[in-house]
Structure formats: structure tokens, C-alpha cells
């Protein structure tokens, strides 16, 4: 840590780390009834990490089953439930709330210089709705499970046994949690920015959170009604999705993907949000193309609503509809590409320091590039005919969801950990874990591109023997990946046993949250946050003076 800005920017403020939002007030009840956005963020954090653990165990079991072409450790029914639950848990309980509800809840008001989100009680309500949804989901898992895949395609899902209705209802409930978080963030960003902070002076994290919230608010209700219709179809046979009753299963797919494709952007845009913070901070340089990055988030959010039909090129959708959707799909590539290039340009001539969060950011750059570029294959209609529903798709979305979002989430977690808990984790362990995750992730999912291209369909319990070597390689990779994640958990949790040792601004960040103490006090700031400089302003004359270093010489006047 010696080579970083280790000195609090506001050295003049009395630093009494023991009086902070974690300890004041004390007691379990004060936590369960808190309306403090930071505490709610922390409670979300533990909840989603538990979900991640459950979903991760399912994933490892699925990979172990695929070690051999026939039965390895479980029956086909169990396998089908495993991958369905892996998908449902990871999507609804982990990724969607991960960055917005956990990290966003903690960081967003701090970054805006606000005392809380606009509707603190709604925030707590949304947490409890999440908990209720999670309990319903776990009940469904224990009481029969689901074997429909997380996509719930009809008429399979409307006719199969198991706890499908309960699980769909759980997802329905979780949707409201997501909607309320979205409403809260939009209102907060509109109304609670610190004095002097215009839209273009917000940290880019907030732009992306805004874009995410817009999608959450506009798309999630449609998921809600879709799942309700599915429950109705199962209980009353209302005849909308079941072809035997005059319904249309392709209509279900329209309903489902109208939410679930934008939902992919609910997952990845927050990842991009974090990267836009990490790269300038660890390059100590102003972000390149602030407006381009900000507006590309909004563009992705809006374009994300126009492309859902690309999941249905071979599903029986009309050719005209497929063509329109394919055409629009390619436009999403542009803002994503713009972001990647802008991040690279930010690093150019920077002062790059490879702390753990930055390692995650660079991993994100590489993995998200692969995830995005392989999307081009799937957007091309003729190639998609071949690759649809194969392991190529599995690999592609894991590169985006895990290589993108989860890596960014881990980066953000390491970045804000000292702020959240006031402790520094072991830097070397952090770096090693990141490297393990990077290697393990690629070992798991790169072979799957080849598998898919060669024709290996997804959701297969038995497979042809010719696919075995690649499957085995992938499974071995998943163990390295698991080990890396385990190390992250160990490293972070171990730091909690230490006394408070994190400075206000361990990384030299320029946004508001780094100016308050670590961990922050209950009302966030021990001073009135008033904006004095842009979020990524590393010009020497704007940086605070540091002891032992003479103030950088200021030109007499006319500095650009």
C-alpha cells in the first residue's frame, strides 16, 4: 500500500472510526429496522453472497455431472433441476440485485453527496420483499424443485410437475424488490445530488445506475405479468400459452424476453458502472469521453428493449420479425464498443497501479470483450441457426454475466470494502485470487465455445463421447474458479477480524465517498458535501495537498 495515496484527503477532520454506521446504533433490532442505505446495502450484500454460494454449488455439481458422457453422480431428473436452479438462483437472487441493490445501495448516495436514498423506508421494504422472495424460492427448491430451466418455456413449464408455480411466484415477488430499488435510484439521482453537482458532474457509476434503474422500472412489470400468466396457465389452463388450448408458446417467449433481454442489461450495465470508476481511479487520470460513456449507458438501456427477438430466430417467429430484431441487435454492439475504447483511452498515459480492484477491471476488459464479440456470431441470423441453444450460447452469456458482471462486482467489492467495513484486506492474496479466477474462468468457458461450435447442445445430461475431453477440461477449470472465489471470501472475511485500519481514501479516488471517513458515519458526511471538482479530476492543482509533498506548482494564471 505504500505507493498509494494513503493519507486521508481531509486530514483535518477528526477521525474516530469507531463511531460509524456499523456500530451506531448497536443491536440486531437496529439493523433489522434500519432505513440507512448503507446498512441495507450491507444486508443485501450478505443475502446475495449466500445466493451466490448456493448457485455456485449447483454450478459445480452440474459441471461434475458432465465429467462423463453418461451418469456420473446424479440422475437426469436431478441434473435438470440442478441447472434450472443454478440459472434461477443466479439470475433472480444474485446477479440482478448484486451490483444495484448491494453495492449501489451503499455507494450511490455517498457518491452523490446525499444523506440517503430518496425513499429510505421503501428501500428497506424492497429488502424485505427480496427476503420473502428468497424464502419462497428456497421453499420451492426444497419442495420439489423446478426442471424447466430458468426460462420457463411453455408448454413444458405449464405441464411439468414440481414447484414451478411457487418458484415463478418467488421470481414475481423478487421483481417488486427490483422495481422498488429502481424507483428509488431514479428519484435519488434526480433529486438528491449534492449542491453544485450537475448531471455531467455525477460519477459515471450514477449514470449507469440510472440506466439500470430505467430498465428495472420499465421491464420488470412485464416479467411480473408473464409469470402470473404462467401460474394462471398452470392452475386454470387459461389457454394463452398452451397450444393444446388454442394458445401460442411463442407468445410466451415474446413476453419472457421482453423482460429478460433488458434484464441482461440490468446485469451488465452496473458492471460497466463499476469499471468506469475503477479505471480512472487506478490510472489516476481523468476519464476519457465522459459524455460518451454516460450516454452509451442510456443508449444500451434503450436499445436493450428493441432486440429481444434475437432469442427467437429459430423459435417460430416470423422471418420479418427476426430480420428486424437482428438488425437492431447489431446496434447494441456500438455503445458497448465505445465504452471499451474509452476505458482503454483512459489508461493511456495514466499512472496505472495494479491493486486488486484494477486487476479485476482489466480482467473485465478482456472477458467482456470476448463476451461482446461472441455476441456478433449470435446476432448474425445464419450463424445463429447453427449456434442457437448450443454451448456456444452458454459460453457467450457466461462471459458477459460472469466474466463481465461478476468480475466487475468483485472488483467493486474490493474497491469499496475498505469504505464499507473500514478494513484493508490482504493485497497479495487478493491479487492471487483474482488471477486464479481469471485462469479458472477461461479454462471453464473457453472450451465451451468450441463445444458449441461443434454442435454440443445445451441442457444435455448425456452427451456424445466425442465431446468428453472438452467437457472434462471445462470441469477442471470450474474447480480452479471455485478455489479462486473461495480465496476471495476467505481474504475479505479475514480482514473483518482486524481493527479499523482503512484510511478515508485508500485508492486516491476523487468521488464523494472517499472524502468521508471509513466506515462512514450514519449520516454519511461529517461535513457538508459541496462539489468542488469533477468526479475524475486529477489535475494537480485540484488535488488536495499531501503532507511531505510540496503543493504542485501552480502556474500563475491562464491554466487550461
Amino acid at each position: 500500500m505504500a505507493d498509494v495515496l494513503a493519507v486521508p484527503l481531509h486530514a483535518t477532520h477528526k477521525h474516530d472510526a469507531s463511531d460509524n454506521y456499523l456500530t451506531n446504533p448497536r443491536g440486531l433490532k437496529s439493523w433489522l429496522t434500519t432505513v440507512d442505505h448503507k446498512r441495507i446495502g450491507i444486508m443485501y450484500l450478505w443475502a446475495i453472497l449466500a445466493a451466490f454460494l448456493i448457485g455456485g454449488v449447483f454450478a459445480l455439481l452440474v459441471r461434475i455431472e458432465l465429467l462423463t458422457p453418461k451418469t456420473t453422480i446424479m440422475s437426469a431428473e436431478t441434473y435438470n433441476k440442478m441447472f434450472s436452479l443454478h440459472g434461477a438462483v443466479m439470475v433472480f437472487l444474485f446477479i440482478i440485485p448484486s451490483i444495484p441493490a448491494a453495492l449501489g445501495n451503499f455507494a450511490l448516495p455517498l457518491m452523490l453527496g446525499a444523506k440517503d436514498v430518496a425513499f429510505p423506508r421503501l428501500n428497506l421494504l424492497s429488502y424485505y420483499i427480496y427476503v420473502v422472495g428468497a424464502i419462497l424460492g428456497i421453499t420451492a427448491m426444497v419442495g420439489g424443485g423446478i426442471d424447466t430451466g430458468w426460462t420457463f418455456y411453455t408448454p413444458y413449464s405449464s405441464t411439468t410437475g414440481g414447484a414451478v408455480s411457487l418458484m415463478t411466484f418467488a421470481a414475481f415477488v423478487l421483481g417488486f424488490s427490483s422495481i422498488f430499488t429502481g424507483i428509488n435510484f431514479i428519484a435519488t439521482i434526480h433529486k438528491l445530488r449534492a449542491p453544485g453537482m450537475t448531471w455531467y458532474q455525477m460519477p459515471l457509476f450514477c449514470w449507469s445506475m440510472y440506466a439500470t434503474a430505467v430498465i428495472q422500472v420499465l421491464a420488470t412489470p412485464v416479467l411480473g405479468i408473464t409469470l402470473l400468466l404462467l401460474i394462471m396457465e398452470r392452475t386454470f389452463h387459461i389457454g394463452i400459452f398452451d397450444p393444446k388450448l388454442g394458445g401460442d408458446p411463442v407468445l410466451f417467449q415474446h413476453f419472457f424476453w421482453f423482460y429478460s433481454h433488458p434484464a441482461v442489461y440490468i446485469m451488465i450495465v452496473p458492471g460497466m458502472a463499476i469499471i468506469s470508476e475503477l479505471i480512472p481511479t487506478f490510472s489516476k487520470k481523468s476519464i476519457f469521453g465522459y459524455k460518451a460513456i454516460g450516454f452509451s449507458s442510456i443508449a444500451i438501456a434503450l436499445l436493450g428493449f428493441l432486440v429481444w427477438g434475437h432469442h427467437m430466430f429459430v423459435a417460430g417467429q416470423s422471418q420479418l420479425a427476426s430480420t428486424l430484431f437482428s438488425f437492431l441487435t447489431f446496434f447494441v454492439a456500438i455503445p458497448s464498443g465505445v465504452k471499451v475504447f474509452n476505458w482503454l483511452a483512459t489508461m493511456y498515459r495514466g499512472s496505472i497501479s495494479l491493486e486488486t480492484p484494477m486487476l479485476y477491471a482489466i480482467s473485465f476488459l478482456l472477458l467482456f470483450s470476448i463476451g461482446g464479440l461472441t455476441g456478433l456470431f449470435l446476432g448474425m441470423m445464419s450463424v445463429d441457426i447453427h449456434l442457437h441453444d448450443t454451448y456456444f450460447v452458454v459460453a457467450h452469456f457466461h462471459y458477459v454475466m460472469m466474466g463481465g458482471t461478476v468480475i466487475a462486482f468483485l472488483g467493486g467489492l474490493h474497491y469499496w470494502w475498505p469504505k464499507m467495513f473500514g478494513r484493508m484486506y490482504n493485497e497479495n492474496l487478493g491479487r492471487i485470487a483474482c488471477a486464479l479466477i481469471f485462469v479458472g474462468f477461461n479454462a471453464t468457458f473457453l472450451p465451451q465455445f468450441v463445444l458449441g461450435s461443434r454442435g454440443m447442445p445445451r441442457r444435455y445430461y448425456n452427451y456424445l463421447e466425442q465431446f468428453q475431453p472438452l467437457h472434462q477440461f471445462s470441469t477442471f477449470g470450474s474447480w480452479i474458479l471455485g478455489l479462486g472465489l473461495f480465496m476471495v471470501a476467505g481474504n475479505l472475511l479475514a480482514s473483518l477480524r482486524k481493527p479499523y485500519d482503512a484510511p478515508r481514501n485508500p485508492w486516491g479516488g476523487r468521488t464523494f465517498e472517499w472524502e468521508t471517513q471509513s466506515p462512514p458515519i450514519t449520516h454519511n458526511f461529517d461535513f457538508d458535501p459541496v462539489l468542488k471538482h469533477g468526479p475524475y479530476d486529477y489535475r494537480p492543482e485540484k488535488l488536495p495537498p499531501r503532507p511531505g509533498v510540496l503543493s504542485p506548482a501552480r502556474p500563475a494564471g491562464g491554466h487550461s
Binding site: 429510505p120 431514479i186 428519484a187 433529486k191 420499465l218 412489470p221 411480473g224 400468466l229 386454470f236 394463452i240
Partner: protein
């Protein structure tokens, strides 16, 4: 968007500003708080529109696929009752907006009166709905597999009733929710908690109520009047 509220530095607020219990600690001014509540409510209404919208889309496409069945089935509905309910809801919207207006002018008694009138309208609406449903139940005009009406010339009419019950049922649930919210506001109004400075709950419940009305404005011709 006005930034005026943000230019003044936020007061260093303790837990709750002691002098004004209606201003939450993280807001600087009433206007900021009011605007935030309002945008929050509108966003919620947006999600309501998309929630009902899914049903409208499903209805539209199923109607296109089974148009004969839908036309035949809608003859089982009573236009007069639908019309009556439309009028009741429109009037209730008017009483609601008057309640909001009265609250903003510090007229406590008028606010209470108009809120009670609105509640009464909502109750009438539900009563009419109850009789309509009872009639359908009696005839076996039920959704999905429970449809048991005999002597249909056109098959597949059960799909219409699936949508009829889902749409009007979800709408009726919203009416019920509105009544609960309104009773809560009424209680506050009776206690005189509102003033021209702070009547946000009346305003928000009003917005919600108008949306419920707005949805019915579309439901009525779609379900009762298609030809």
C-alpha cells in the same frame, strides 16, 4: 428540471428536524421532498401501466387469433352494468381530485367529505362487480378449465373469460388496494395532519386512483363493446 432546491447547501440535520416532522432528514426542502415523492409515484404508475399492459397485449393477440370466439363471448357481458361502473369510476375520479384540491387549500372538512365520497364510489363499483361475477359464476362462464357454459355455437370462448376475469380481477384488486390507501389517508385527514404545506399522501393516492380509473376507461370498451 428545477435545480433550485439543490443550490442551497443542505442543512446539517440531526435524526429528524425537530421543528418540522413532515420533512424527512435527508431532504433540504419541502419542495425537494414533494418532487421526489411525485416522481417516485409516477414511476410506480409506469410499472402499473406495463403490468396491465402485458394483459392488454395478451388480450389483443388472443383476440386476433380467436376473434369469432371473443365476439361471441362478449355478448354474455352486460353493457349496462359496465356503463354504470364507468360512470361511477369517473365520478369517483372527480371527487378524488376535489379532495386533493381541498387538501391543498387547507380545507380539512371538504377533504374528508370528498374522500368519503370517493370511497363510496369505489364500494359501489365493487358491488356492481360482485353482481356481475355472481351472474358469470352462475352461468358457468368461468376462466380456463372451469368454463362450463353449455350450448356455445363458437368454441374457445373460455379464453375470453380467462382474460375477462384476469383483467377485471386485477383491476378490482387495485380498487381494493386503493380503498385501503384511501382509508389511511382519510384517517390522517380526519386528524388534521394535512396542510397546504404537506398533503403529499392525498396527492399520491389521488394519482393512483386516477390511474385505476384510466385503466378502466380502456377495459370497458375492450371487454364490453368489441364487435
Amino acid at each position: 428540471m428545477s435545480e433550485s432546491a439543490l443550490t442551497a447547501p443542505a442543512p446539517r440535520a440531526p435524526e429528524h428536524s425537530g421543528h418540522d416532522s413532515t420533512l424527512q432528514h435527508h431532504f433540504a426542502t419541502h419542495e425537494q421532498q414533494f418532487d421526489a415523492s411525485k416522481i417516485g409515484m409516477w414511476l410506480f404508475l409506469g410499472t402499473e401501466i406495463l403490468l396491465f399492459g402485458g394483459l392488454f397485449v395478451g388480450y389483443g393477440l388472443m383476440q386476433a387469433a380467436h376473434s369469432e370466439a371473443f365476439v361471441a363471448a362478449h355478448h354474455h357481458l352486460d353493457k349496462r352494468l359496465g356503463f354504470l361502473n364507468t360512470v361511477v369510476l369517473l365520478v369517483s375520479s372527480w371527487t378524488m381530485v376535489m379532495a386533493v384540491h381541498s387538501a391543498s387549500k387547507d380545507r380539512r372538512k371538504a377533504t374528508v367529505r370528498y374522500l368519503i365520497a370517493t370511497l363510496a364510489c369505489a364500494a359501489i363499483f365493487l358491488c356492481v362487480k360482485y353482481f356481475e361475477y355472481g351472474h358469470k359464476f352462475h352461468e358457468g362462464l368461468l376462466p380456463g378449465m372451469y368454463y362450463s357454459h353449455k350450448g356455445d355455437a363458437v368454441p374457445n370462448q373460455f379464453i375470453f373469460f380467462s382474460f375477462y376475469f384476469m383483467m377485471t380481477g386485477l383491476h378490482a384488486l387495485h380498487i381494493l388496494g386503493g380503498m385501503v390507501a384511501m382509508s389511511w389517508v382519510l384517517r390522517k385527514a380526519v386528524r388534521g395532519e394535512f396542510s397546504s404545506t404537506w398533503y403529499t399522501p392525498v396527492d399520491l393516492v389521488g394519482l393512483y386512483w386516477h390511474l385505476v380509473d384510466l385503466i378502466w376507461i380502456y377495459l370497458f370498451p375492450l371487454l364490453y363493446l368489441i364487435s
